[in-house]
Amino acid sequence: MTISRRTILKSAAAGSAVLASPAFIRNAFAADPIKLGTVFDISGIFDAYGKPIDMAVKLAVKQINDGGGLLGRPVEHIGYDTQSNMALYTQYAQQLTRQDKVDVVHGGILSASREAIRQTLRRANTLYFYNIQYEGGVCDRNCFVTGVTPAQTTEVQIPYTMEKWGKKVYILAADYNYGQLMARWIQKYFKDGGGETVAVDFFPLDVSDFGSTITKIQTAAPDMVYSALVGGAHLSFYRQWAAAGMKSRIPLASTTLGVGSEHLVLTPEEGDGIVVCYNYSPELDTPANKAFTAAWGEMHGAETVPNIHELAVSNYQGILLWAEAVKAAGSVEQAKVIEALDGGLSLDGPAGKVTIDPKTHHATLDVHLMEMRGQKLNVLQSFGARQPIDTQLVCDLVANPDDNQQYEIKI
């Protein structure tokens, strides 16, 4: 360390200030807030996902502060809207770490946005939470994932649907990373259960005419159709399927429908009977969820409660989990909080119990089989403590703490 005239003057000034008014300084330190940074797409084409997430973040922060804050300090929320623009993620992540100097960042919706900021936060030694369902495989000690990964839900959903409907499946999936991977998981679990995949069709995101596909499905005569279709154009499939009168003939299951509250858009005639499997539904009949939806309704208005989706709830739980870890660690320092999270910390959230898996920094979660009925996701059956078995195949942060990549999981 070099000692210049300026540093001497500075420390002298600081020293005299401490001497002059020690009580004042101590008070200021006590009230010094813990900074929680967020980056989400609250406007733009992904706002259907981002807006409820933002509301969930505000609710979590309010509840923490109403409960007296953390370590006797209030939590200050510094949030940026990335406007569905990937370039802004990098910019705001820099701003959060360098200028705002936040203690933790929760953020990112699409996988692309997560990868845009993950390295920045790792380099800056800022703890990072990605609380979204995604394709799995991220292995980074600084990054905690509290959303579900494909194997956690399909592992439960496919045996259920096979028992109910039969062994032959026709798979429809969106033609990008997520859809391709999901189609492979569905095929794997059907094979494991002694079933058969009669065909897999991939659709670019702008395809909205499914007429010939519906004919092809009838020719193949499967026992059920699995859909991993994504976005507004693909919603046409469910509409055209119902319009062709197919709903009473071949049952449907989906791994995506409902995540963006699509069940509110489809009419009951179009949506009823479709089987899905997620971490959360607003209809969950548990005390934790009742308390959560009541608090949400009080803060944001009861009419917004049906819009609560899984992504919002995982972010809510992610923040509360981080808060628990801070309390357990007695500090907001990155290393100490990671240690606390690795110690098998868990939280009883609205969607069920969330526990961090120290090997992968993903979460062990409850998943719920649901059926659409009257524009609601009605829970059929709940399954406790599903391990992130897909990421566990490739990632072991206990043995290999310096690992830093997203693995492509071979199935």
Binding site: D47, A48, D175, V207, Q218, R239, A243, S261, E262, E269
Partner: protein
């Protein structure tokens, strides 16, 4: 046998959809030489007009066939008066202006309706054909397209209105010399073009999940169909829609929707290489 019937029906439906989405553009671009990049957004607004009307309690057929074309036609009229009329004969400028319009319309729809999917159910139920279930609404779309083509042919060919419109597009000065105001002819033709786009949006709305960016999925196909069709409006539209519908459905059926789209684009490239003036530049020359 059943499969063959279903397959033929799918092809007819696919041709009908191409005719429907391209008809408005055939008038605005094919006749008036205005590169309307906002064509997809006109369709999108037709879709929203239908859904709004249905939600307000209007009968779904009235909403699709009357409300949607009228609303979009009026919007088209306003656009023509404010923007397009200064740009006739300036091909590249119309492209820039309408591109801007398309962005503005999408943005406005996002502000008004939000970035979420909306829709209405199809009013016609499915029915059984042998071992297959068929979407009954497909028939409706096929019938609407046939009526549209017949009406367009009859109006352009058989009425004075059609004659004046065609004459003005061919030689505005001559039409003016004969006592017709090209300004008004252009205005009403643009109204008709926009209304046709609105009709397409309205009729297709019950089949899809409507989002503000919905129109952009159709714009390329509409342009390809109109350009490949060539100079004749009705026959050009029909011939190119038939070729593309046949090719894309056959390939979609044999392999998948991705290959179907690829086959359509490859066919368009080959077609334009062999017939740069469009199909009706060589065949059915001089017909409507």
């Amino acid at each position: 046998m059943d499969l063959a019937a279903v397959f033929i029906l799918e092809i007819l439906y696919s041709i009908a959809v191409l005719v429907l989405i391209s008809a408005g553009l055939a008038v605005v671009f094919g006749m008036m030489r205005v590169i309307n990049l906002a064509h997809g957004e006109f369709m999108m607004m037709g879709g929203y007009a239908t859904i709004m009307a249905v939600q307000a309690g209007v009968n779904v057929y009235i909403a699709m066939l009357i409300v949607a074309p009228l609303v979009v036609g009026v919007i088209g009229l306003i656009v023509e008066r404010l923007v397009i009329r200064f740009l006739y004969g300036r091909l590249v400028d119309t492209m820039l202006a309408t591109w801007g319009l398309s962005l503005a319309f999408t943005g406005a729809a996002v502000m008004i309706f939000g970035n979420t999917t909306t829709g209405v159910s199809t009013p016609i139920s499915g029915f059984t054909l042998g071992a297959y279930q068929i979407n009954g609404y497909n028939f409706f779309i096929i019938i609407v397209s046939i009526l549209l083509l017949v009406a367009a042919y009859a109006i352009l060919r058989g009425t004075r209105l059609g004659l004046v419109a065609r004459g003005t597009m061919q030689s505005a000065d001559m039409a003016a010399a004969l006592g017709y105001s090209p300004d008004r002819v252009y205005m009403s033709t643009f109204f008709v073009g926009s209304a046709l786009a609105g009709l397409a949006g309205g009729v297709l709305a019950p089949l899809v999940g409507l989002v503000p960016t919905w129109g952009s999925a159709y714009i390329a196909k509409a342009f390809i169909t109109v350009i490949s069709g060539g100079a004749s409006i009705v026959l050009g539209l029909l011939s190119s829609a038939t070729v593309f519908g046949l090719v894309s459905q056959t390939f979609t059926f044999l392999s998948g929707p991705v290959i179907g789209e690829v086959a359509l684009l490859v066919t368009a490239i080959i077609l334009l290489r062999l017939l740069p003036q469009g199909i009706t530049g060589r065949f059915f020359k001089g017909r409507l």
